[in-house]
């Protein structure tokens, strides 16, 4: 027995993304954002996308390229504070934006990846984020039904991968990548290094390859991955 090989060329995998798809994109700010896969998606040009990402990066970076290319219909996110361009599109009604509490967005994605229908949480129950949500009592206390999120495709950035799709992340570039890598029908990973099977110790795997469909090796890291001068 050997484990299947899931390495492939980037173009072929991104071509699976269709108009109207829901796409999860890893990253919190620059770290962990799959910059190269995002550029490939812009080039591919699938439209009317629903994007699920913690933030909208900064103007001219990351998923802001998808916004500028007019490919995004709806954005499910937690905070757009660093991207005035995205806030402008939202205020002008050019994209729909759904805000979630950050940990609840993470849990909703995790629920999708864990095959759970929803979680019951009291986070934000006193706030306007509770509006329109079903309420269920647990042990006498009201909780919001926070439904699971799943996607057609997840775009993941990893530090290292083996050909089966076992992944490792580095520092705060981990963030939403491990949960998103569980929660999509098709999980596409860009990895800074693709190492041979067996080179990642079994105890050190952070996302098991069972969740991963395609692994793309990054040949170069563009300027977008670098430290941002502020």
């Amino acid at each position: 027995m050997r484990l299947p090989n899931k390495t492939c060329a980037m173009g072929a995998t991104i071509a699976r993304i269709n108009d109207g798809d829901t796409v999860m994109v890893g990253g919190f700010g620059v770290p962990g954002t799959p910059m190269t896969l995002i550029h490939a998606l812009v080039a591919h040009g699938a439209k009317n996308l629903t994007i699920i990402k913690n933030d909208a990066n900064e103007p001219g970076m990351g998923i802001d390229h998808l916004l500028r290319a007019g490919l995004v219909k709806r954005l499910i996110t937690t905070h757009l504070g660093l991207n005035a361009h995205a806030i402008g599109l939202m205020n002008a009604g050019k994209i729909e934006v759904e805000f979630n509490a950050q940990g609840i967005l993470a849990e909703r994605i995790r629920a999708g990846g864990a095959g759970i229908g929803a979680i019951l949480s009291d986070v934000g129950i006193d706030t306007e984020l509770a509006q329109g949500k079903q309420i269920v009592e647990v042990e006498g206390k009201p909780h919001l039904v926070e439904t699971a999120l799943r996607a057609d495709v997840a775009l993941i950035h990893a530090d290292r991968a083996d050909p089966f799709g076992n992944l490792g992340y580095v520092a705060t570039a981990r963030n939403f990548n491990p949960v998103m890598a569980m929660a999509a029908k098709c999980v596409i990973v860009e990895a800074e290094a693709v190492v041979p099977l067996g080179a990642l110790p079994a105890d050190a795997v952070q996302t098991p390859g069972v969740f991963v469909d395609h692994v793309v090796a990054l040949e170069t890291l563009t300027e977008e991955y670098a430290v941002v001068e502020r």
């Binding site: 027995m1 299947p4 079994a202």
Partner: protein, 210 residues
């Protein structure tokens, strides 16, 4: 029957082999096959079972057997393990059975008053794997059919079983109930029908045997 069941596993699959008969399928998988074996207690990429003098005290499968790694194995915790199961990442699971209904219902965890050690991971495997096949003796120790019109024991999951491998036959669960697919060497279709506790559809064409 175990060798025949092993043919059900195709290249590229992620597979969970249940405790008991199904675990033995591992010895019948060809070495070139690209497959990932999963166990509920937290491992993907299971390698061969080891005798106790070569065993790692920290490396067991869900049945308690000492197993080994292959290149690319990964360890994870129990929540991650069942996240894989429930979110549909298992292409196939092979389970044991006390009873299988002609509607695909499976009962394999409890005999009220006699045997009720708890369900373990069985419900999630039966309900959530993309394809569920059963490996079982065709009849119980008393010679009574395990394949029945309806299960009488507490269910593990409804309508989950796609195919059954027994010592007598390979049987599919179709929209109209049990359908004979193959017979064991020396076993006739009539023998299988007689040992089955529900109507058995037998095709007019000659059946392969195993």
């Amino acid at each position: 029957m175990i060798a025949r069941a092993a043919l059900e596993i195709e290249s590229g699959m992620t597979v969970n082999l249940g405790i008991g008969l199904p675990t033995k399928v591992i010895d019948h998988l060809p070495s070139h096959l690209e497959v990932c074996l999963h166990t509920e207690n937290g491992m993907s990429g299971i390698g061969p079972t080891l005798p106790s003098d070569r065993a790692d005290r920290n490396l067991i499968d869900a049945g308690g057997a000492y197993v080994s790694t292959v290149p690319g194995s990964a360890f994870f915790d129990s929540v991650t393990s069942f996240a894989m199961v429930r979110s549909g990442r298992l292409d196939l699971t092979m389970l044991g059975a006390f009873e299988v209904g002609a509607n695909g219902d499976l009962a394999n965890w409890k005999i009220p008053g006699k045997f009720s050690p708890g369900v373990g991971g069985g419900i999630e495997l039966a309900q959530k794997a993309r394809r569920v096949v059963v490996l079982t003796t065709h009849t119980d120790r008393a010679g009574k059919p395990k394949l029945k019109t309806e299960c009488s024991l507490p269910l593990t999951a409804r309508g989950c079983v796609a195919r059954i491998f027994t010592d007598m036959a390979v049987i599919d669960v179709g929209p109209e109930g049990f359908e004979l697919v193959e017979t064991a060497q020396g076993v006739s279709s009539a023998d299988v029908a007689a040992a089955t506790g529900a109507p058995l559809r037998i095709p007019n064409t000659a059946l392969p045997s195993f």
